[in-house]
Symmetry: C2
Subunit: 482 residues, 2 copies
């Protein structure tokens, strides 16, 4: 039967995670490969998730005083070179424009790998006085980084993101902004994407090229590898000194501004897929699901008309209360095929209506998160949906939180460390002396990197470095990462 074949076409997640990921994102029509190596097309069903992400995060950023703007795609090579560490970090990944029409350019242009250089050159013009501060600008844009190994959503030559770039009068304000954004990201990812994250500070080795300090939120994928889900950088005065961004303070003294930058990208869609998916396909958290409720009719000849009418009515009523509902009226597929198809596509809630349901004046709800079947009277159906969607949202978060807890290992010695990274993966919570030598050696020997230095106050304590055994003050999270 067709429906059986359809579901079996996806490699089960539990069997081969990488294959499952690639198969499910293409079968669910989230994404397709473009004809150019390493580039992807985000199809409507996948782009709808990005639209929800944009809407929900943009609202949070605007509520905290940020405004959007748009800066050019191209950055002259000389600008990229102004901040020494920055160019070192990004130059190997830059796509270069060398010709405009038939003419060779005098100076080649970088397709933005990030926009600090161009934005700072404008801030140097715009910022004159303490009255101009703070500047709290965000940009939604496309970014290009020439990548050798790519995977849709996680690492592609082009991706979409938002990048915030702020300027402040004092170091304290910049640090405050950096941490405010980190907490906005954490709140957004945990509440709207239902993904629990570890927030913390990056080591010198892992920080952004040009930053003073980098903070990030890290999520744990179902295969035990960590994914950096968002970063917030305190840039200090590195860029303001390189680009000469100065303001006159209240005492008429010229001061360099203090800056931050921060971003999340379409990579978040990859995180949603990898955290919540199961053997049958995707499972989208209701708040970002393109379709929250699918209504599937089970038509028997004499009942067909009534069932279709009811299905259309339910769709209409749900849309009225802003539920993203879809009535699947296709006649060329069986109900069973449709169930599998919509499960694979991750719709959080299904409403089935058959002849028996019509007789009983009910419908059957089927939750995607736990497959529970709930018969509900047609009279009270509409009012049940929003609370149930919120419950599914929480249930997905709790499942992911349990997974994170079960796969976070407190470890004190290096043998155990290696054994866990080799066999179980997940996060390893341990002490590190702060010496980059130890960090490098662990990375070389196990493939695990320090994802973040813990910022949780209650965890401030002392131990011994898991590698060298010396006294250590940094409680850190190690993991293999994407």
């Amino acid at each position: 039967m067709m429906e059986e074949r359809y579901v079996k076409e996806i490699t089960p997640k539990s069997q081969d995670f990488s294959r499952w990921y690639i198969e499910v994102i293409r079968k669910a029509e989230l994404v397709d490969y473009a004809p150019m190596k390493g580039m992807m097309v985000i199809r409507p069903y996948g782009y709808a998730i990005w639209e929800k992400i944009k809407e929900l995060l943009d609202r949070r950023l605007k509520e905290t005083g940020h405004v959007n703007a748009y800066f050019p795609l191209f950055i002259p090579e000389s600008f990229l070179k102004k901040e020494a560490e920055h160019v070192k970090g990004f130059a190997p990944q830059v796509a270069w424009v060398t010709h405009g029409g038939d003419e060779e350019l005098e100076e080649r242009l970088a397709v933005r790998p990030t926009s600090e250089a161009i934005i700072c050159s404008m801030y140097a013009k715009w910022i004159k006085s303490w009255r101009d501060l703070p500047v709290l600008i965000n940009q939604w844009a496309n970014i290009v980084r020439w990548e050798k190994v790519t995977r849709p959503f996680l690492r592609t030559t082009e991706f979409l993101w938002q990048e915030g770039h702020t300027a402040h009068a004092t170091e304290e304000e910049a640090e405050e902004e950096t941490l405010r954004i980190l907490s906005i990201y954490k709140d957004f990812v945990e509440n709207d994407l239902a993904i629990p994250v570890i927030a913390g500070k990056k080591t010198e080795r892992e920080k952004f090229a040009g930053a003073l300090r980098t903070y990030s939120i890290e999520a744990l994928m179902a295969d035990g590898r960590a994914l950096q889900a968002g970063t917030s950088h305190n840039l200090g005065q590195h860029f303001s000194r390189a680009f000469n961004i100065r303001y006159e303070d209240k005492n008429q003294n010229l001061q360099y501004v203090w800056q931050t930058s921060w971003g999340v990208s379409t990579r978040l869609i990859g995180a949603v897929i990898m955290v919540h998916g199961d053997d049958s396909g995707l499972r989208f958290p209701p708040r970002i699901a393109p379709i929250q409720v699918v209504i599937v009719p089970i038509p028997a000849n004499e009942w067909k008309e009534k069932i279709y009418k009811k299905g259309e009515h339910i769709e209409k009523e749900l849309k009225k209360i802003s539920v993203r509902a879809h009535f699947d009226s296709r006649e060329e597929y069986t109900p069973g095929w449709k169930y599998s198809d919509w499960e694979m596509r991750g719709v959080p809630l299904r409403i089935e209506i058959g002849p028996k349901d019509m007789e009983k004046k009910q419908v059957v709800l089927v939750r995607r998160d736990n497959r529970e079947k709930i018969p509900v009277s047609q009279d009270v159906l509409i009012e049940k949906i929003s609370p149930l969607l919120e419950e599914i949202q929480k249930s997905l978060y709790n499942q992911a939180l349990n997974f994170l807890k079960e796969n976070t290992h407190n470890v004190n010695n290096y043998e155990e460390f290696k054994e866990i990274i080799e066999n179980k993966r997940g996060f390893i919570k341990t002490f590190w002396c702060g010496n980059q030598d130890c960090e490098d050696k662990i990375k070389d020997e196990t493939g695990a990197s320090i994802r973040v230095i813990s910022m949780e106050k209650e965890e401030k304590s002392e131990g011994n470095c898991v590698y060298c055994g010396k006294k250590a003050e940094n409680l850190v999270y190690f993991a293999k990462a994407y």
Copy 2:
């Protein structure tokens, strides 16, 4: 006085339109020049208008069944070459990426000047059966065209736009879609941007490179030049044959699809500025104004606290009913300076509150469209605002419509044609034989081009070609254009 100087810094619109345009968009902080020739930065106040345009147009497109997606920025040169007229039209304007990191690419990549080529290559994979049609995809994206002469918003090397790309089973459906979009554009520009437009068909000379037929909406700027504000193309089967996009029809026969593409861009912001602005600066239609109402306190010492409290309260109450209000609490500027500043920035409605108003329990409203001053009791203020904003929206439209009517000239002979183009500009409505020779000669001799062939049914009639005098069936609109 500071406030006097500020206003005088802008060249009056009536004195030098081009200078006024450049000065006002920079003074109002809509836009700034980027350090690369021909590129612009859209500043927060300008970008807020683009966000409103996106929101209002995107809603219309979704209501008519369109969905958004995202296709790659880069297009391999060989793809661009597949449709012969298309590459001929765009190749001279392409920015070419030749290197990724340190490596030279085997095939150079075009930074998209428009996305037909890359989108068609994907449609060839996605479209198999009549069940897959219609495909109604839109994309919001950045576009690069290497331009020799640039002007912010109107013609820049990079700009933002939406581009719709649809595929249909029949020629009729494609034509229907092309015209549906044209009418959506007309409705949107007239109602939300308050700009009356002429809709019609382009001549062969002026159509899109690769299209079967192009339709456009044309607006008249305050200097009497026309601006193409949106285009909708019926692509016929030109691209489906070049890219081999075929579907199996209900009789199992393979058929090439029929396609359309259409777009509007950040150029619309330029149109808003040029149509509505006056000697004092910008005038934004309320529906797209970043700030709809500005509240300016006139503090006298003993009244200051009460006036500020009232101003903040009004801002809060207006925001509650979704009016974009702003209380200008800055203490370093005088009320008079603020009036000029917000007038220059185009805010549709100003609320002034001074000590005398507080005594009378009133405020004074000042309309930007006609400078009318309206004292209003504080008790009924909030409920008055939305209707008044709608009235201002209509008033701006009507002013623009009157200007369009006054500057559309019915002309029958070529001497008069030349005289009007030379001295008055505006649209010339006349007959044209359909011969491209006449069209070319008029363009060479006067600089005016055929903006559109009229589609208005009541205007179908016959006359003589304004150039050669032969019998002519095309009633056309000529103008000098941006």
